[in-house]
Subunit: 293 residues, 2 copies
Amino acid sequence: MDIRNLKLFRHLAGTLHFARTSQACYITPSALTRVIQRLEAELGETLFIRDNRSVALTPAGLAFKKYSDDVLQRWARLHDELSSENILEGELSLYCSVTASYGILPDLMSLYRKAHPSVKIHLETGDAAKALIKLSAQDADMVIAALPDLLPKDLIFQPLAQTPLVFIAPLQDPEIILHAQGGMDWERTPLIIPDHGLSRDRIDKWFAKENCIPNIYSRVAGNEAIIVMVSLGFGIGLVPRMVLEESPFLNRVRILEETPELQPFVIGLCTRKKTLANPRVKALWSIADKIIV
Amino acid sequence: MDIRNLKLFRHLAGTLHFARTSQACYITPSALTRVIQRLEAELGETLFIRDNRSVALTPAGLAFKKYSDDVLQRWARLHDELSSENILEGELSLYCSVTASYGILPDLMSLYRKAHPSVKIHLETGDAAKALIKLSAQDADMVIAALPDLLPKDLIFQPLAQTPLVFIAPLQDPEIILHAQGGMDWERTPLIIPDHGLSRDRIDKWFAKENCIPNIYSRVAGNEAIIVMVSLGFGIGLVPRMVLEESPFLNRVRILEETPELQPFVIGLCTRKKTLANPRVKALWSIADKIIV
DNA sequence: CATTATATTTCATTATTTGAAATATAATGT
DNA sequence: ACATTATATTTCAAATAATGAAATATAATG
């Protein structure tokens, strides 16, 4: 009957789909199943009628949904009350990959500033790969970055957004894409991919799985640069869609549809567990927490 | 942020006393301390200012108290809604020691009947010592009884009331109490104590601790009988105060003030963990749960 | 009939919570 | 001044609960 469980329940009541909710909330379907089972046991009521094909709220589930909504709303209000009591001062240092900053940072920062106008924000943007290093070196209190495959134990991560990796091709020079039977010829079409970092790992893994040796035309540091290179017709590239959407070169490239499905990027707020003791950090953390609610 | 933690917090906010709340809520002070610490960590706010001598709510604590009250009230409403959906039928068997039944049973039963009028109650009263046996033998779904010193692992207990053990003396024949220097002479004053059961254990333990061999005039089965014997002037007796208060012989005896402090009786509802799956049992369980809230 | 989509179990691991006892600290009584 | 009492907190080992990965179950779809 934890706040977290109420949130999970409510999300599921919205999607009516265990797999989708578990993905969106970053827990395994197994854990989600049992969260619901526990709620049901505690209430002594079935909340969802479910089989492999369908999930539906029972009347008791509906009553519990209203309860959850009320409690979560009251919870948000409590937070407002508490944060308005606490006028924080001092400085908060935030590091943000350029990739990560698009679309997310503004929302978060404007909420934070409203709640704590006298906290000075020290913001640095830079290479996504450096984000976690900055944290561990205590060079930044918090970072906004993509969730790596392996998060160090002393860090905690809170997802804020998700964005798929997309392949892009120049609008001019369509002949740059070479075809084999059955689709694109990945071994000959020139590729422009990141020099290092998470999306590089993902594409490398895919090529390895496919037993395919790509024709890497150019390795580039920085997603923005990749878009430029692609727009100039040097090859096809791989970037997080969120970066593409903000790019001034958006209208010079197109997204390729028939490309491998790579695991999407999960962008979120990350900090050292210990740093959460810092009230300014804690404050941003719980603001982020409310955003997903 | 569990319902249970909210209840604990709220109780503490009322008593402002860790030891008292932990006793009343049947957890160790250590656990209570850490429940509060966890709440404080989760909220990032101090809820109580405390030292060894005093406990006081902070402003944040007050805000959280209001939150707790609201949530617990909403929680009770949810239960009302759910139970009004579920019209239960069938039978519920309840065993109740005579001791235990005074004062508690009527409240509980009238609430239960209001919520589930078509459940037939099979009620049996009898010796308190048999209560747990009845449960284990599946002879009763639930019992109301005193909490024994050691509760079998497969049972769960929910406290409902507490009553001290009191010594009583006849109003007539005051000379029956013999005095030594410093107070009553426990070795010579004739005693009327229970033949067996929890209060017998308690008094035996006390005599052992005091290195004192009591003058047991009579061993009696059944607290009601003890009161009768005492009222007739046969000696002094030991009974739970709750039993005394309901006795027709109340005005023929008096409570002795300067007597050893024995651990009070904790009267409550008890059932097998597994039996909670039975919806009628579960229903009474959660009604009892609401009584203490 | 194989494949796919989906929820649930199982099992081993990890994390959390607990009680008992020790500790710390301030007030009170002698 | 010093032992005693009352009280909250820590420490430590043990018990409980929650988790993810993989296996399983089940029904729909191609």
